[in-house]
């Protein structure tokens, strides 16, 4: 069974701080996605990374796929209260059959 472990589970920071969230596995994934979920809503896709070592930027968010395609990180610069939410990573195993989701990192950014 392929598993994705996210850390930390919870993160509470002040506005303006930087943070990094990690998504790790012992398995190789064909691609990895990051979603953000706000209370009472469904997850919304932020990014998909496909190539080992790939780095993608979305404004203040930087996503990296590990060289071996087993792990990923999400770095947020100068966090804002609007970044508050549950961040989920999801990996696509070989065969592209289904997404495997991590348990998520709950981020709270305080003004």
């Amino acid at each position: 069974t392929q598993l994705l472990e996210q850390s930390p589970q919870f993160l509470s920071i002040q506005e303006g701080e930087n943070l990094t969230v990690y998504c790790n596995s012992s398995s190789v994934f064909s691609s990895l996605q990051w979603y953000r979920q706000e209370p009472g809503e469904g997850p919304v896709l932020l990014v998909t990374v496909v190539t080992g070592g790939e780095v993608k930027k979305l404004k203040r968010l930087t996503f990296q796929f590990g060289d071996a395609r087993k792990d990923s990180s999400l770095h947020i610069t100068a966090a804002q209260p609007g970044d508050t939410g549950l961040y989920l990573c999801a990996g696509l195993p070989g065969g592209y059959n289904k997404l495997i989701f991590g348990a998520g990192t709950r981020l709270a950014v305080h003004p």
Binding site: G40, G42, P43, L86, L92, N97, L99
Partner: protein, 115 residues
């Protein structure tokens, strides 16, 4: 003009009852999914349909029966509800199921509470 819609948003019912959740997507996607998100926010796939054909059927009790009347709709019927079925159920769709990018669009969720 909601992309993926689910009804109802909230569902409170007694143990042993039968209930249904409906899902519709207006994105023209071929593939639809049902996910269950438990109290720890762990999101797990239950079923997937591609053009009305069942392609993923995870280890789910047979009390859960999906039905896709057309590729824009995927409903979930649950028989003999149990306390452990309490969760948030999400419907999702993607343009094509088996692609590297596989972007999935989620509905707002249905919070099911079994008393």
């Amino acid at each position: 003009d909601t992309a993926v819609s689910q009804t109802p948003k909230y569902l409170v019912t007694q143990m042993g009852n039968d209930k249904s959740i409906k899902c519709e997507q207006n994105l023209g996607h071929d593939t639809m999914y049902w996910y269950k998100q438990d109290s720890k926010k762990f999101l797990k796939i239950m079923f997937s349909y591609n053009n009305k054909e069942l392609i993923i059927n995870e280890t789910v009790p047979n009390r859960f029966s999906p039905k896709s009347p057309d590729k824009a709709h995927l409903n979930l019927h649950i028989n003999s509800l149990e306390l452990g079925d309490s969760a948030v159920y999400f419907c999702a769709s993607s343009p094509r199921g088996a692609t590297l990018y596989n972007e999935q669009f989620f509905g707002p969720g249905t919070r099911l509470t079994v008393l």
